[in-house]
Symmetry: C2
Amino acid sequence: MNDDLLAAFDRGEQRALARAITRCESGEGEPLIRALFDRAGRAMTIGLTGPPGVGKSTLTAALVAHVRRLGKTVGVISVDPSSPFSHGALLGDRIRLTEHFVDPGVFIRSMASRGHLGGVAGATADAATLMDAFGYDVVIVETVGVGQSEIEIAEIADTILVALQPGSGDTVQMLKAGILEIADVFVVNKRDHPMAIQLQREIRSMMEMLDYGGWVPQLVATQAIAAQGIEALWDAIVEHDAYLRTSGEIAHKRRGAYEHRVRALALGALERRVEAVVAGIPDGRDPYAAAHDVLARFGDDAAVGEAPLRRASVRATVKGL
Amino acid sequence: MNDDLLAAFDRGEQRALARAITRCESGEGEPLIRALFDRAGRAMTIGLTGPPGVGKSTLTAALVAHVRRLGKTVGVISVDPSSPFSHGALLGDRIRLTEHFVDPGVFIRSMASRGHLGGVAGATADAATLMDAFGYDVVIVETVGVGQSEIEIAEIADTILVALQPGSGDTVQMLKAGILEIADVFVVNKRDHPMAIQLQREIRSMMEMLDYGGWVPQLVATQAIAAQGIEALWDAIVEHDAYLRTSGEIAHKRRGAYEHRVRALALGALERRVEAVVAGIPDGRDPYAAAHDVLARFGDDAAVGEAPLRRASVRATVKGL
């Protein structure tokens, strides 16, 4: 079954890629990723996030058209709270992408989140690996930036685009949510809007508040619906990609994403096992002693002995600083 | 050091209780909880949640006054995004509680969340255990209901009060967030508001959409600032408590809370260990094989062998249904 699928994948059948991604979504992707992982790593991966209504789909469609004109192939993963292809409200936005549906150099896939962001991140990483292994030159991951999903794409994509729209007042909100810090390129879309200049000023003054080590984010103004500014946006992406490669930062970045991914898989499995062990603990045992009992079941080197358990919160708070 | 603290705790010194809670907050509470856990379990624990502005502090103050008139002692844990005692914006609300500051039968403690809800839940559970072990008859945990913190208190408190205010339009939002499902008692505060009747109607029609197995939530209208409806609220709490005890559900509920707490402690420790192991994995290994490598380090019975790793997302999605 997997052999057939892999053979079809090898022959470059898009249908096989689609089926492989579906398997990953339903938690059966392991054999496929194991077989195909070492073919991935060539693609340029781009994450695009921003608040609802900013025009992410239009930006994606314009980028796809531009990338195709340059002779490159492109895969698009659209992560949305609900599958956009089956929900009317979002369908209108998607129509711009449909012009690419018949182009074999473009592959478009939406992933439904079903309300669980961590899980989507894992399935999205698998889908990106598969598109990359399939041979797409560019992989674009588009997510609605409302929660922490945009932080998760920072673990998948090499270059992060944060799109903002003039007059929305979203910037302070996004700064608070830690979204502005992950931007490699800011995109002010709808640049014809009267507030577009003010938004650019706001972004620049906020950038002054942040401490950039190496790459300083670029700011590009676009009018995606008229395909304006897309060449400048692509140039900024290419420049960031070149920076990652010449500085050697790309290895560091991809290693971080890789560790994040392995951790999520291992912890998911451990979580289920911990749950089973905890269910067997007798009543009345104090929770710390019980936690030590649980840990003792996970091997000698996992036993914390007499050392007190540090709270997860303490670590997480520091990490969040 | 701990012996001194425990001796002072035994003598009933509130200062020792305060210091013990501080230790739990900073991740050093293990020896104290281990020593005191078996004294806890007597208190009636009440969780109070609701959107900002609904009057949770006023409700708490009114409940405290009522409980004191009944001759019972009460501990209050106020979980807020920032410590209310040091931040002006919230201080006004707190002033109603200060009348109880000199009453030795009342102990009030605020816990700052520092942006990490999981961690606060752990520290809050420890604080509730300590107040219970110290001898308070009633422990009230008050949290701002904006994210998933209100779901977390369901893991700590025996009885959950969800407070709503008329004319706020919060109900649909809270239904979506899964907050209404955890209510044992709905409190419509500010019952003098012209929209109060409509809110009660809304709550009743939403209750019809939910499937209640045993206890059907009560609905109480209050005007906390005038101490109106507080007796009816207390009666509803007592009735729910009696239901839990006569039905035997309390054992089931407390067992769930206990397992949740042990799991969080164990997983926090495992998370740090997984992180360290993952850091040592060589590049180029596919993420699933790497995850199996990590799991193999956690004992034979943790090794998943050739079985594929199920995605955490799959389980979590089911749990979320």
